[in-house]
């Protein structure tokens, strides 16, 4: 199977992503932690990453979550980004929730 190594900065882990698979999906299937996982549809924005090194191709991402400026700045939603080369990426959203003051929020 063709694919690429993905290096996750800040958490310091690495995983293999098949060429035709979104980065987030590959990460989840391998049980790797590092990027928050949400809707897997490019709508909710929790899986935001910066591609520090390498090339990706992205499917539709919500403009409410990734601005044009962010896109120019190599910021993507990991659930919509497919690798075109080995990648070094940085998760931009927190995995751990800040303390819930009111049970839900």
């Amino acid at each position: 199977m063709s694919g690429y190594r993905i290096e996750l900065l800040t958490v310091g882990s690495e995983f293999f992503c098949p060429a035709e698979q979104p980065i987030l999906k590959a990460m989840m299937q391998l049980g790797v932690k590092g990027i928050p996982s949400g809707c897997h549809g490019g709508g909710c924005g929790v899986c935001k990453i910066r591609v520090v090194e390498g090339q990706v191709r992205a499917d539709s991402m919500s403009r409410a979550k990734i601005s044009e400026a962010e896109e120019r700045d190599n910021i993507y939603l990991a659930c919509r980004a497919l690798p075109l080369s080995p990648l070094t990426i940085e998760p931009l959203e927190r995995l751990d929730r800040p303390l819930r003051k009111y049970g839900l929020i």
Binding site: G38, G41, S60, Y102, G103
Partner: protein, 314 residues
């Protein structure tokens, strides 16, 4: 007179072909047509009005508006006045402003969501007809959802800054639109902050739910199934179609509903919901869940917090 039920939800989708495959082939809704703007209209087989889901092409996910159906056209004038008494400026829109509908009343909830009331919508009938009908039609796809059951909305909530639009919405719907409170969650040191509110107009536990959130959005749109075995089959259909499931089949404590949470291809959360829970009536004492037990209320079996429940929405 008064509000009868949820009429439709208008969702934004980023890829219409993928959205149609989801709402038609996975949920099993029936496509009723499209318009020049590229929007598609769908209904459940058991619904008689032309559509309960309107999908609009967009560069983002989320909800444009939700609409509730009232019994009489004159109710719209009455509710316009009642909303004004509560400081909400509602606009009467002409027929066809809401596609395939008569005139409508448009306003914003305190949470920022756009809501409509309308009395008339083009009627197409149930898939089984209304003469000596069979209990279900042939050729249903996927989960074969009966109808759009309710929406749950994410409402700005920050009590320290004096913001609680869950409570504001709840008060407005009860006082101006005649909704009843079925269940609520009270939080905070004095257990007096309403963080969750479930309201109804039908005889089911909820026709709308308000949840606390950092920003305005939609938590989910929910579709009705008959029972637990239909819920399990719906999950099989989702797995077959590689739908992203958020929460596998389980039971809510609140409403007693049997549920699956999952996402459409643009990331909007859906629910398939079975079991009518209990008979909701105007004189039923509202049920209160406390802060320590609120996750038991949300996911009855585990009783544990589920991270994506509050942080993931569109």
């Amino acid at each position: 007179m008064g509000v009868m039920r949820i009429g439709h939800v208008n969702l934004r989708v980023m890829d219409m072909d993928a959205a149609l495959r989801h709402y038609r082939d996975v949920l099993g809704l029936l496509v009723q047509g499209s318009d020049d703007s590229g929007a598609f209209y769908l209904k459940g087989w058991d619904e008689w009005d032309k559509y309960s889901v309107m999908l609009s092409p967009s560069d983002r996910a989320g909800m444009n508006h939700v609409a509730y159906k009232v019994e009489y056209d004159s109710d719209l004038d009455l509710f316009k006045d009642r909303l004004a008494e509560h400081g909400v400026d509602a606009l009467l829109e002409p027929a066809s402003h809401l596609p395939f509908c008569g005139r409508s009343l448009r306003f914003s909830l305190p949470s920022g969501h756009e809501m409509y009331l309308y009395a008339d919508k083009e009627r197409v009938g149930k898939a089984v007809g209304d003469q000596n009908p069979d209990p279900w039609p042939d050729g249903l796809k996927g989960a074969g959802a009966h109808w759009l059951d309710h929406v749950a909305l994410q409402c700005p909530f920050d009590p320290e800054k004096g913001v609680n639009t869950v409570a504001d919405n709840c008060r407005l719907l009860r006082e101006a639109l005649g909704f009843y409170l079925s269940e609520q969650v009270l939080v905070g040191p004095d257990a007096d902050i309403q963080a969750v509110a479930f309201l109804f107009r039908t005889s089911t536990p909820h026709d709308i739910a308000f949840l606390p959130a950092p920003t305005c959005g939609i938590h989910h749109a929910s579709f009705f199934l008959d029972g637990w075995s239909d819920v399990l089959k719906a999950a099989d259909v989702m797995a077959k179609n590689r739908v992203k499931i958020d929460v596998t089949p389980t039971r809510h404590g609140i409403t007693r509903g049997e549920t699956i949470y999952f996402f459409d291809p643009s990331g909007n959360r859906n629910e398939t919901f079975a079991g009518l829970g209990y008979l909701a009536q105007p004189d039923m004492p509202p049920i209160t869940w406390t802060e320590e037990n609120l996750w038991r209320g949300i996911f009855y079996h585990t009783g544990e917090a589920h991270d994506s429940f509050t942080s993931v929405y569109t």
